[in-house]
C-alpha cells in the first residue's frame, strides 16, 4: 500500500508572456542545465549530480524571485544587461513543487482559482510538460521521455475524468468507453467485453447504446469514470469532476470513486468543493503555485 507510484520533484511551470527576453534566456539556460542533471541522474554520477542539483536549485530560486540576470549568470557564467523596457509578464504557475503519490491513495488538490492546481494535475497526468523538475511514474523518469511515447503511457497507465465529462457526443456510451482500448491496440471483441464490464461496474450496464445527450449529468460522469477505469490504469485523475453536478449527483459520483478506491484504485482529484475534499484520504492545499499544506483524513 505504501509503494510510491508517482513522484514530482521540484516541478516548476513558468509562462513568459510578451517580450521578457532575459527571463526567456534564463529559462532556457535552466532547462539546458536540467537536461544535464537528468543525464547525470541516469549515469548515477552522484558527485556531479549533487553539484548540479545545488546549482539548479539556486538558479531556480533566483528565477522565482524574478532575478533573471543573476539566474542566467549563475548557470552560464555570462553576464546579461537588465532590460527594464521589456513588456509582458512572467507567470509562475507552479513553483518548486514536490509530491509523492502512493498506490491506493485518494488525493484531493484544493486551492483558489489560479493557485496552480489544474496545472499541477496536467503535470501529474503527463498532459503538459514542466519548465523544470522531474516526474517519475513508478521508476520511470517520464520528463525525459519523448512525446511519441507519452500516448502509450497515457493509454495504459493513466485515466482521466474531466469537469464537463468530455465524452464524444457522436459516440455511444459503450463506444466512448472503448476509446482508450482502441488506442491501446486491443482487439475489438475484447474492447467491447472490457467496456461493458466497466460500464456495469459504474451501474450503467443498461445504457450502453445511449449517446451523451441521452444521459443525465451523473450518468455522463459515470460513463467518463468507466472510460477512465476500463484499461485498469495505475492512477486516475479527476479535474473538477463534480463541478457540473448537483449535490445528489456529486455524492453519487464520489461514492463510486470511494468504492473504486477501496478496491485499490489510486485517484487524484482537483476540486473546489470542500465536501468532495472531505471524502478524500489526503488533501493538498495549493496557493500561488506552491503547496501550502497537506492534511490526511481518517
Amino acid at each position: 500500500m505504501n509503494e510510491t507510484i508517482l513522484q514530482l520533484r521540484k516541478i516548476s511551470k513558468t509562462y513568459i508572456i510578451g517580450t521578457r527576453k532575459n527571463a526567456a534566456k534564463a529559462q532556457k539556460a535552466i532547462q539546458k542545465l536540467h537536461r544535464t542533471y537528468e543525464d547525470e541522474c541516469e549515469k548515477e554520477d552522484s558527485k556531479c549530480r549533487q553539484k548540479t542539483e545545488a546549482l539548479l536549485e539556486k538558479a531556480q530560486d533566483l528565477f522565482a524571485q524574478e532575478k533573471y540576470e543573476q539566474s542566467y549568470q549563475l548557470v552560464t557564467g555570462k553576464m546579461i544587461n537588465p532590460r527594464p523596457k521589456d513588456r509582458g509578464a512572467v507567470v509562475h504557475a507552479l513553483n518548486n513543487v514536490t509530491i509523492d503519490i502512493k498506490k491506493g491513495e485518494l488525493v484531493a488538490i484544493v486551492g483558489p482559482s489560479g493557485s496552480g492546481k489544474s496545472t499541477l494535475l496536467n503535470m501529474l497526468g503527463l498532459l503538459d510538460s514542466p519548465t523544470a523538475g522531474l516526474i517519475f511514474l513508478g521508476d520511470l523518469n517520464v520528463t525525459g521521455i519523448k512525446n511519441k511515447k507519452l500516448p502509450e503511457i497515457r493509454s495504459k497507465d493513466l485515466g482521466f475524468v474531466f469537469q464537463s465529462f468530455n465524452l464524444i457526443p457522436s459516440l455511444t456510451a459503450l463506444e466512448n468507453v472503448m476509446l482508450p482500448l482502441k488506442y491501446a491496440g486491443i482487439a475489438v471483441s475484447k474492447r467491447r467485453e472490457m467496456a461493458i464490464k466497466a460500464l456495469e461496474s459504474v451501474g450503467l450496464g443498461d445504457r450502453l447504446d445511449h449517446t451523451p445527450n441521452e444521459l443525465s449529468g451523473g450518468q455522463g460522469q459515470r460513463v467518463a469514470i468507466a472510460r477512465s477505469i476500463v484499461n485498469s490504469p495505475s492512477i486516475i485523475f479527476g479535474d473538477e469532476l463534480t463541478g457540473e453536478l448537483d449535490t445528489n449527483m456529486t455524492h453519487e459520483v464520489m461514492e463510486l470513486i470511494q468504492k473504486l478506491n477501496k478496491g485499490g484504485q489510486t485517484f487524484i482529484i482537483v476540486t473546489h468543493n470542500p465536501e468532495v475534499a472531505k471524502m478524500c484520504k489526503r488533501i493538498i492545499y495549493m496557493l500561488d503555485g506552491k503547496i501550502e499544506r497537506e492534511k490526511h483524513n481518517n
Binding site: G125, L127, D128, K148, F160, F162, N166, I168, S170, Y183
Partner: protein
C-alpha cells in the same frame, strides 16, 4: 471506420456540398477522359494502320478533302522502286457535309483489294462474311453503323439512295473501321461519280475515278522514304507515310488531350480546395474531441489516420458518384449518337481506375494539412475549449 463515417455526416450539408465538389471534378474527368480515350484509341488504330503503308492522294487535296485521281496513276506508282503493291481506293463520306459531327465521320470505302495479301491490319467479322472485289451490290458494315443503317446480314439497306445487300457486319475494332462501310471499288466509284458536280460528271467515267491509293512497301523499305520517292517520281500526287500521320494527327490529339485533362484537373483542384476547407472547419469544431482522444492515449498516427481517412472517404464518395454520373452521361450521349453512327466517348477500365484512385488520392492529399494541424493541437488548450 463507422465512427469516421458518422463524423463525416455530423454536418450533412457541408459534407454533401464538399462531396458534390469532388463529384463535379470527377464527372468532368470521366467525361473529358472518355473523350480523350476515344480519340487516343482512334489515333492508336490509325498509327497501327498507317505504320507500314503510304497513302497517295491528288496533290491538290488534303487528308480529309480528297480530289479525284485517275486509276492510271497506279501504274506509275507501281514502277517506283520499293513498291510492293498499289491498292486503288475510293473514300466517300456516308452523310452529306452538313450532318458532320464530332470525331471521324462515317465513311464509305471501296477498294480493288490488291493490297489484301500484304495488309497487316486484320478486320474480323461479327456476322456474315467479308466482301470480295467482285461482290457488286454488296457491303460489309462497321459495328457503329449497324443501328444507323438498320443493317442485318442478308437484308438490303439504302446507302446514298442505292440499295445494297449486307454481306457481313464487322467486329468492333474501337477505331476507324467501326464507322465505315466497305463495298467494291466499282460500286464506290459510281457513288463518288454521283457526288461530282453535274458539269464534270459527263466528262469523266466512274471506272477511272479513285480518291487515293494505298501503297504497300517491299520488305526492308522504309515507308517514309518510299513516300518521298513517290512524290519525286510521280507527278501530281502527294504521298504520306506513317510519320506524316504522326505529325499531323497524333501530335494534334496530344494537345487536345492536354486541354481535356487540363479542364478536368481545374475542376478537381477546386474540389480538392473544398476538402481542405471542410476538413479545416471540422478540425476547428472538433478541437476538444482531439484533446480528449489525445488524453486517453491517441497517438499522432491515430489522429492523422482518422482525418486522412475521413478526407479520403470524401474523395472516394465524390469519386464514385462522379464516375457513375459520368458513366451515365457517356452512355446516354453514345446511345444518342449511335443512331448517327458516331460515338465520341469511350469509358475504359483504366479511366475508371484512375478516376477513383485520383479522387481518393486527392482527398488524402487535401486532408494532409488539416490532419497535420489536428495532430499539433495542444491537449491542455484543447480540453479548455468550450
Amino acid at each position: 471506420m463507422l465512427e469516421i463515417i458518422k463524423n463525416m455526416f455530423r454536418r450533412k450539408t457541408r459534407t454533401i456540398l464538399t462531396i458534390s465538389g469532388i463529384t463535379i471534378g470527377i464527372f468532368a474527368f470521366v467525361v473529358m477522359g472518355s473523350m480523350a480515350e476515344k480519340i487516343n484509341i482512334l489515333v492508336s488504330g490509325g498509327t497501327t494502320y498507317y505504320k507500314d503503308k503510304v497513302i497517295v492522294n491528288d496533290k491538290s487535296g488534303s487528308t480529309f478533302m480528297t480530289s479525284p485521281l485517275s486509276i492510271d496513276k497506279a501504274k506509275e506508282i507501281e514502277k517506283v522502286e520499293g513498291v510492293q503493291a498499289v491498292q486503288a481506293e475510293v473514300t466517300v463520306m456516308l452523310d452529306s457535309i452538313d450532318s458532320i459531327s464530332f470525331g471521324i465521320p462515317p465513311m464509305i470505302i471501296g477498294s480493288d483489294d490488291k493490297g489484301a495479301p500484304y495488309e497487316s491490319f486484320k478486320l474480323d467479322m461479327a456476322k456474315g462474311e467479308k466482301i470480295s472485289a467482285t461482290d457488286y451490290g454488296k457491303v460489309m458494315v462497321g459495328s457503329d453503323l449497324v443501328k444507323k443503317l438498320n443493317a442485318t446480314v442478308g437484308q438490303k439497306i439504302k446507302i446514298k439512295g442505292k440499295e445494297f445487300e449486307v454481306k457481313g457486319i464487322m467486329a468492333k475494332t474501337l477505331t476507324a473501321p467501326d464507322s465505315e462501310v466497305y463495298m467494291t471499288l466499282k460500286d464506290a466509284q459510281e457513288m463518288y461519280h454521283d457526288t461530282l458536280p453535274t458539269v464534270i460528271q459527263p466528262q469523266v467515267k466512274p471506272e477511272v475515278l479513285v480518291t487515293n491509293f494505298t501503297v504497300y512497301s517491299k520488305e526492308g523499305v522504309d515507308p517514309n522514304t518510299l513516300a518521298a520517292k513517290i512524290d519525286k517520281e510521280v507527278a501530281g500526287v502527294k504521298s504520306q507515310g506513317p510519320k506524316a500521320f504522326q505529325d499531323q494527327i497524333a501530335s494534334a490529339t496530344g494537345i487536345l488531350n492536354s486541354i481535356l485533362f487540363g479542364i478536368a484537373a481545374i475542376s478537381l483542384l477546386v474540389g480538392g480546395l473544398s476538402i481542405i476547407n471542410t476538413m479545416t472547419m471540422s478540425i476547428a469544431e472538433r478541437t476538444k474531441e482531439i484533446g480528449i482522444k489525445k488524453a486517453v492515449g491517441a497517438k499522432t498516427k491515430n489522429i492523422m489516420l482518422e482525418y486522412l481517412t475521413e478526407a479520403g472517404l470524401i474523395g472516394l464518395f465524390g469519386g464514385i458518384i462522379g464516375w457513375a454520373l459520368g458513366g451515365i452521361m457517356v452512355f446516354l450521349v453514345n446511345s444518342a449518337m449511335e443512331a448517327n453512327g458516331n460515338t465520341i466517348f469511350l469509358l475504359t477500365n483504366r479511366l475508371t481506375f484512375f478516376a477513383i484512385f485520383f479522387s481518393v488520392t486527392l482527398g488524402v492529399i487535401a486532408g494532409i494539412y488539416p490532419a497535420y494541424h489536428a495532430v499539433k493541437i495542444n491537449i491542455v488548450k484543447a480540453l479548455r475549449e468550450e
